[in-house]
């Protein structure tokens, strides 16, 4: 008996926003399609719902109903990253995990045969839920007899069904509000008197796509699926390996590069025959003096184009120096299956080409190191040097359209504070501002000041623990 289970991470984009801003949990929050008055409200939390905000409203209308509403945009990349981390977590519980094409928070899991390992399927489901909770996401799980039955059950917090007939009967009577239909489609269906899933499935197949769009058609096809298809798990990334031990150790960069290119082309032919692309390669160079040099290369998107890889390899070798002659070369390649999007008949070229930016990031990483391209992420810490971290960046994010605020002078923060040898010549401007935190780590208190030095405004602090003065940065 096939046991497809469905895990529903309830309103995943909203949970991403709340995990990003934990202080918003008790406030009205909405996920909007764009941070502009005409943006559409996609998801809301309970507080916003109680304040009268509804899905499908324009952001401006929602703000007029609830002025305290916090709106945020969640990008596709952010959602995909969250799903990827959930999939890798769930692969510890079942070998087959399938993403839902039309609902980003839903994942199908193959529960077949796992009752022997966990005692019962219910125990297995509880373990899965607890693991997802540990990742910071609230979820519901239902083990059913069909993919759509388990999906609908998870949406209504039903844990399971007694029989296949029981599942079918329950699904037919369930309201259409549990389906991931666009708000305007749901409204139109209700105006037409279609209020249950059974009535939705009884609609003529031919007109669904042309009348209600592709997403509704995908939901309809799943709901009316005649056979129970097995869960189609994504393949785990295959790791390919190629190694070469030259007859004599290689000291010249040219011969070394030539040998690596040979190995790389060999790996590429393997990925081509497996209908896959290479996502990343790791290069290990074992030198005669016992040291091992490791380098990693990653293009903008998984590729099996030899020209792309060879260009990145040559760029990396421009700045690479081996400490001694190389006696063994090993290449590890991570292969991945790439989904090719359907080409559009009338494509509209965006003003800025994000794919071109991703290609440039890959080139810069290959030439100057893997950590040169990054973005700043704020953290809720007291000490200024801990208020942000730099995170690596692969794709160009689109900026939210925020209205520029009133000018505030900007400080520059040094990577490492510089000790102030003498305070002679400094004129106090403001301070002290006491900053302390992490008392459990016995972190010393700091007193921050602004001081003039000539025409510079310095940002300095006194470390009470060591009784020394440091320059943190300046106002520029």
């Amino acid at each position: 008996m096939v046991h497809p289970a469905c895990l529903d991470v309830v309103r995943l984009p909203l949970q991403i926003v709340l995990n990003r801003n934990p202080e918003w949990k008790e406030r009205p929050v909405a996920v909007v399609s764009e941070d502009a008055p005409l943006g559409t409200v996609l998801f809301i939390n309970r507080v916003a719902e109680q304040a009268g905000v509804q899905r499908g409203l324009r952001y401006a209308a929602a703000l007029s109903i609830c002025p305290e509403l916090h709106g945020s945009v969640v990008g596709d990349t952010e959602i995909q990253n969250a799903i990827d981390s959930l999939v890798s977590l769930l692969q510890r519980f079942t070998p087959h995990v399938e993403e839902c094409a039309f609902d980003p928070g839903a994942l199908w899991l193959d529960a077949h045969g796992l009752d022997a390992l966990y005692g019962s399927v219910s125990e297995w489901a509880l373990a899965v839920r607890a693991a997802v909770r540990g990742q910071g996401y609230f979820s519901r799980i239902c083990v059913g007899y069909s993919r759509f039955g388990s999906y609908a059950g998870a949406k209504r917090a039903v844990r399971g069904f007694q029989s296949s007939a029981d599942e079918r009967r329950w699904v037919r009577g369930a309201p259409i509000s549990l389906l991931p239909l666009p708000p305007e489609v749901e409204q139109r269906l209700q105006q037409l008197g279609t209020t249950t899933v059974g009535e939705f499935c009884a609609l003529p197949r031919e007109g669904i796509r042309s009348r209600f769009g592709m997403q509704t058609d995908a939901v309809y096809r799943l709901a009316t699926e005649p056979e129970v298809l097995p869960v189609q798990g994504a393949d785990a990334p295959a790791v390919l390996r190629a190694q070469m031990v030259p007859d004599s150790p290689l000291s010249s960069t040219t011969t070394l590069l030539s040998a690596i290119e040979g190995l790389l082309l060999d790996l590429l032919s393997q990925t081509v025959s497996a209908a896959q692309h290479m996502r990343r390669i790791e290069l290990e160079l074992d030198c005669e003096n016992g040291s091992c040099l490791r380098e990693a290369l990653q293009p903008a998107t998984p590729s099996r184009d030899a020209a792309v890889w060879l260009r990145l390899l040559r760029l990396r070798f421009e700045s690479l120096h081996t400490p001694a002659s190389v006696q063994r070369i090993t290449l590890h390649a991570e292969a991945a299956t790439v989904k090719q999007p359907q080409s559009e008949l009338f494509s509209t070229a965006p003003r800025r080409d994000r794919a071109a930016a991703a290609r440039v990031f890959a080139l810069l990483r290959a030439r100057f190191g893997n950590d040169v391209v990054c973005r700043m992420v704020l953290q809720s810490e007291h000490r200024p040097d801990r208020r942000f971290v730099l995170m690596p960046l692969d794709q160009l994010p689109l900026p939210a359209r925020i209205r520029p605020a009133e000018i505030q002078l900007v400080r520059r923060i040094l990577d490492q504070p510089v000790e102030l040898a003498s305070r002679r010549g400094l004129r106090p401007a403001a301070g002290p501002f006491v900053v302390s935190g992490k008392w459990w780590e016995q972190e010393a208190e700091r007193h921050y000041y602004y001081a003039w030095r000539g025409r510079q405004i310095l940002w300095i602090y006194h470390d009470c623990g060591t009784n020394r003065w440091f320059i943190q940065g300046g106002v520029e």
Binding site: V360, F368, L378, R401, P404, Q408, R412, Y450, R455, I457
Partner: protein, 216 residues
């Protein structure tokens, strides 16, 4: 050229409003150009009450570019970075700012060329305040052409270097950025364009603001 009094529809739908007659320190005014901004240094007329404001001037342009949906990049040539909470207070979406951290001016020049060439950015800020800018005239001339054709504003932040330009004669605008405080604790961002190839004359612009937390 359309007949007098007739405007092309593309101009009406353009994201960028036409530059106003009065010059200002704005993204619309500077888009498609190479600009150099320096701190007050030994500028004539500067008093001890004037401080450098190059970071604030750059952050102001990033906020304006983002409000028009234009991605921005910040290339650091070994210079310390701006304090991100201050940028966020100026209305910047930090997720939308790409930071490229490099160690020397030559690498920064290569990265600038690549970013401007790809046409994915509306604004590229290159922080040369702790290193001597090392961009040959040939590359700078090519950058000027790319900036114009891809509608990118390339802003170089340079150290104070007296009366001469750190980058040479190919920059389209050379300006000084300084801040000044008044008795009420308000701060003014003052930009003085010493050379503007588009306007043909020098100009100045000022806007009132406030200091970072604790200073105003």
């Amino acid at each position: 050229m359309p007949p007098r009094g007739v405007r092309r529809a593309t101009a009406l739908t353009s994201d960028h409003s036409p530059a106003s007659d009065r010059p200002s320190w704005s993204f619309d005014e500077l888009c498609g150009r190479i600009c150099e901004v320096r701190p007050v240094g030994a500028a004539p007329g500067a008093s001890d009450a004037h401080a450098s404001a190059v970071l604030t001037a750059a952050v102001r342009l990033i906020a304006q570019s983002q409000s028009r949906g234009e991605p921005a990049a910040w290339i650091s040539a070994g210079s310390p970075l701006f304090f991100p909470p201050d940028a966020a207070a100026n209305g910047i979406d930090l997720d939308g700012v790409v930071v490229i951290r490099l160690t020397d001016g030559q690498s920064a020049a290569v990265a600038t060329d690549q970013l401007v060439r790809c046409g994915a950015f509306g604004l590229v800020v290159v922080d040369f305040t702790t290193v001597t800018p090392s961009i040959p005239d040939g590359i700078l001339g090519r950058l000027a052409g790319l900036a114009r054709s891809n509608a990118v504003l390339v802003l170089f932040l340079c150290a104070s270097g007296g009366d001469y330009s750190a980058l040479g004669s190919l920059v389209s605008l050379r300006a000084l950025a300084r801040s000044r405080s008044d008795d009420e604790g308000k701060f003014f961002l003052e930009i003085t364009a010493e050379k503007d190839k588009k306007r043909g004359h020098s100009w100045s612009w000022a806007e009132v603001g406030h200091g970072p937390p604790g200073l105003s």
